[in-house]
């Protein structure tokens, strides 16, 4: 590749990058370090280390319940968004469908509408059609938000799919449904897995929509927010560290999975 800014010394470019990396990682490192500090006061120096905060978190019924609740919402969201997303992607790639550009643009809209606007409008909407705040409302808004990511990932994969594959399946005796199940779905798998994991992560991470549409039962971000309101403590650090590690692991696993099935 052509070196850009060739007149700048390479060390300066490298140094600038590492400065950014430090800025990126330092807060996370601090948070993690503090979760191991054997004192309830968050500041340096750390003289004694402990795992007590983690033990406390894992015994915290509120934390466990909120985590399970978040995971449940994420799974329901993923299921709904995947079905709708694949449907739209198929629709957009089908020949002879009118208004494909409009369908695609509408499907992507939720990705660019600010979360706050989305949340407020959903709040007004559910009040109008008499859906109570709570689980259903949260899943509805998370799903709408997640659909564009599934559509875009599946569409990219679908466009790279040779048209002959489905023809070959039909030719060998598969009806359209069997051809879809046995050829199209396996071909889409890397994109599907990637899209699904993305759905799970964005749903678990979502605060704004949940805040506006949730009932009395807190999801994980809401619980952490409520706890922070009562003052920072190493226990919150431990919770956040657990969330960080789990989500990073899931994300990396998804990346590996999609890359392997792509090769």
């Amino acid at each position: 590749m052509r070196p850009y800014f060739a007149d700048l010394p390479k060390t300066a470019l490298g140094a600038a990058y590492w400065l950014f990396a430090v800025y990126l990682l330092l807060p996370l490192a601090l948070m993690t370090a503090m979760s191991f500090k054997d004192a309830s006061f968050i500041a340096f120096p750390i003289t004694d280390w402990t795992l007590n905060w983690y033990a406390q978190v894992l015994q915290d019924k509120q934390f466990i319940e909120a985590s399970l609740y978040s995971i449940g919402i994420a799974l329901a969201t993923t299921a709904a968004a995947t079905v709708i997303g694949v449907w739209i992607a198929l629709l957009v790639t089908t020949e002879g469908i009118w208004g494909k550009a409009i369908i695609f643009a509408l499907a992507c809209l939720p990705a660019v509408v600010p979360g706050l606007i989305n949340a407020i409008s959903m709040r007004i909407f559910i009040r109008t059609v008499d859906i109570p705040t709570g689980t259903t409302a949260i899943i509805l808004s998370h799903s709408v938000h997640a659909v564009p990511f599934v559509v875009i990932m599946v569409l990219t994969r679908l466009r790279s799919m040779p048209a002959n594959l489905v023809d070959a399946a039909r030719d060998l005796g598969a009806d359209p449904f069997v051809a879809f199940l046995r050829v199209t779905i396996p071909y889409l798998m890397p994109a599907l897995l990637g899209g699904m994991i993305f759905c799970v992560l964005t749903s678990i991470d979502d605060f704004v929509r949940t805040f506006f549409l949730g009932g009395y039962k807190p999801t994980l971000p809401m619980l952490i927010f409520a706890k922070v309101q009562g003052g920072m403590s190493p226990e919150i650090n431990a919770m956040a560290t657990i969330v960080l590690i789990v989500t990073a692991a899931v994300g990396l696993y998804a990346e590996r999975l999609t890359r392997r099935s792509r090769n």
Binding site: A169, R170, D171, L172, G173
Partner: protein, 356 residues
Amino acid sequence: MQPVVQFENVNKYYGALPAVDGLNLAIEPGQFVTLLGPSGCGKSTTLRMLGGFEQPSSGEIYLEGKAISHLPPNRRNVNIVFQDYALFPHLNVGRNIAFGLELKGLSSDAIHKRTMELLALVKLEDFAGRMPDQLSGGQRQRVALMRALAPDPNVLLLDEPLSALDAKLRQQMQIELKTIQRTTGKTFIFVTHDQEEALTMSDVIVVMNKGRIEQMGDPNELYSRPRSRFVANFIGQSNFLEGKALSVDGTVATIDWNGTAIRADVNGTQPAKDSPTTVALRPEALYCLAEQPQDRFALKGRIVQRVFKGAHTALTVDLENGAQLHLQLDPVALSHIGTDEIWVGWRERDAVVLAD
């Protein structure tokens, strides 16, 4: 014998453009039939209509006497080898071949047995566990062929399956395809724009142009008795001698060609006296002599260009009557010629009158 495939007045229009125009074609079982023509001649559309991926605008297609135009691809007992093979990338070689067998509801033992049989036919027994992207082009080609043969179709359709292979491999696959066709006794319908492929493998060649059949026959007949200028040009090369018919005596016509009376086979046509008539003459059917022969027909000429082609040499000769001919001479014939002043002739049965 009842034809295995029959097209009856089949038309296919894309908008107002005819891709296939009034096609009538009957194919005998067990033959290697090639649909040959330039791109856009309707050969692929014909194949796709037979496979069920296109519907005729009008007319009917029969498979073993039954009308099939209304049936979807999965309910026709024909299988296609696609141009880019279309192997399922997520299934290994064995599962690819088994795909059609599984859908037929065979037992897993029967599927395994048949898959291994087919792999043995192309010597790929050890590759059953490989994924398609771990195969070479030739191996993929063979797997695609076996996958299409697996469900035991009445007719196997091949859509330019050799076009992605390099020249050497292509020749090897031509022989292999022909051998497999003989061994299995199946009807193969092969689509190509490559005349050499068609000549090598076919029992019957159907030359298509602009959605219509130009001529149909065995390779030898098509090559030596082209009926139209298009066929004479598309299969091999030809000299076209344009003149006026003088007389017809049985199967031999005499034609005034630039003031020279030449004789040619009427080739099924009936040229009227004084009508413009074209004669086709293969470059390799011409003989070339240093002296004027006493016993044979020959015209005096002068070599104006020699192009060495390896196995033969291409000569361009200007004749005394003002016409020009292209010749192909093998090295032995060439060694008998001294100077550029020569005599050129041909046997009258090698010159054929064209219908257009």
